[in-house]
């Protein structure tokens, strides 16, 4: 006789399934497919036009939450309110910019009975893109050289330190490849206006773009690792199609990352594999990627394993997955009614 699925209420952020998508909808899809759970999904949104809010077969109920810049007190107040109604078992935050706040309040959430499975602040900070080069040097990873720039004039002499092309990156998001000082200055101003200072100048590495979704147990063990090669890349650099790979070197790279950081939770390693086979870590995202459903499709359901670990279950590391599994993202015009938009806009709930 099969075990009865566990009834759970799981709150998820990152419902912005847009051209540069948040991972929320994919995380929910994977969790809903897990036969061990009978879930009610609570969406936590920032913007009234996040598509996931209106996908009622994906998200049962959505509440708006305050932007990360407002701080943890407002976030706690809002979550307390939602918890009183919904009795949340687990929260899975999926945005880089909100993670710091969620990590900070995770102990308080735990006291309220809401479980999370997030990295420690030290782990979170160690992989920060502004510290990535030092992290790589300390732990023996290939990482591109970089330099933090605080003023436009520092770019004038950048050609003495970096060859062109180089990459101009924002501290949270965005990366622009610049082929000259003029292009670098333009990119600096554009990214500064959006994400502020400092700006990161990074060595350009030529190669094949590979992303690795990994899940660590917090004790140095990798529960799951799925490498994926981008097959189709959007103008924002996002994978619109990708295929799972079978490459022991990539698996070992992710195992080593999880081991040295004792990573707790989901993460994504953005890797550039050079023609001579060197895997450069370009960035480490401290949460699941938007393509995370592919891990479930390939046989390692990372989001549902995270839920189990958040609830204190012992989860054995996966040992196999299917290489050659492809995801192809598609755009779909979902139709809703102005009344739905009005409800989430005016009441902060839908």
């Amino acid at each position: 006789m099969s075990k009865k699925p566990r009834k759970l209420v799981i709150a998820v952020t990152g419902l912005n399934a847009i051209d540069s998508p948040g991972p929320g909808v994919a995380v929910i899809r994977a969790i809903r497919e897990c036969p061990d759970f009978d879930v009610r999904i609570i969406g936590l949104s920032y913007d009234a036009l996040e598509p996931g809010i209106y996908l009622h077969d994906i998200v049962d109920k959505t509440y708006q939450i305050p932007y990360p810049s407002v701080g943890t007190d407002s976030l706690m107040d809002r979550l307390r309110f939602i918890h009183e109604i919904e009795k949340i078992d687990v929260i899975i935050p999926n945005f880089d910019a909100e993670l710091f706040n969620f990590i900070k309040i995770s102990a308080k959430l735990n006291e309220m009975g809401i479980k999370t499975f997030l990295p420690e602040i030290e782990q979170f900070n160690a992989r920060d893109k502004m510290k990535l080069f030092g992290f790589g040097q300390k732990n023996g990873f290939h990482v591109p050289e970089d330099k933090l720039i605080h003023e436009l004039k520092e770019l004038k002499k950048i050609d003495s330190e970096f060859d062109f092309p180089l990459v101009v990156k924002g501290k949270f998001y965005d990366a622009i490849i610049a082929h000259s000082t003029e292009e670098a200055e333009k990119a600096f101003l554009k990214i500064q206006a959006k994400w502020g200072l400092p700006i990161i100048i990074q060595e350009f590495i030529r190669g094949t773009e590979i992303n690795i979704a990994a899940l660590g147990d917090g004790n140095g063990n990798a529960i799951s690792i799925i490498p994926m090669r981008k097959l189709y890349i959007t103008d924002k650099g996002k994978a619109w199609a990708g295929v799972t790979l079978e490459d022991e070197n990539l698996l070992e790279l992710a195992r080593k990352f999880i081991r040295v950081t004792r990573w707790r939770g989901g993460c994504e390693l953005e890797v550039m594999l050079t023609n001579d086979g060197k895997p450069y870590i370009m960035e480490v995202n401290p949460r699941f990627p938007a393509w995370i459903y592919l891990t479930a499709a390939a046989g390692q359901n990372q989001p549902s394993s995270l839920v189990k670990m958040a609830l204190g279950d012992h989860v054995e590391p996966f040992t196999a997955y299917e290489a050659g599994k492809i995801f192809i993202r598609y755009a779909w015009d979902h139709i809703t009614d102005i009344r739905e938009f009005q409800k989430i806009s005016a009441n902060g709930e839908l």
């Binding site: 094949t208 090669r229 097959l231 295929v243 799972t244 790979l245 079978e246 490459d247 290489a323 050659g324």
Partner: protein
């Protein structure tokens, strides 16, 4: 001239390298060559098999096989 162990091939001539994510299409002769290579046939054996099976000039086939083998190596299909 050994096909890498993890290379997936189909009868239609589709070749997938799961280590790199690359995929290729060959014609039916290419597919037959890869299938025989997977069965550990040497170049000499391949020449014998194809020249007895098809109406083909031996020297021409040897040259084409060498070209094809180089391509397979370049694409990491062969060890």
């Amino acid at each position: 001239m050994r096909v890498r162990k993890n290379i997936a091939t189909s009868d239609e001539g589709f070749v997938f390298n799961p280590a790199t994510g690359d995929s290729f299409s060959t014609n039916s002769i290419g597919a037959e060559i890869i299938r025989l290579m997977k069965g550990e046939k040497s170049a000499k054996e391949l020449v014998e098999i194809f020249c007895s099976k098809y109406d083909v000039d031996k020297a021409l086939f040897e040259r084409d096989l060498e070209d094809f083998t180089l391509q397979l190596k370049e694409f990491n299909i062969l060890e």
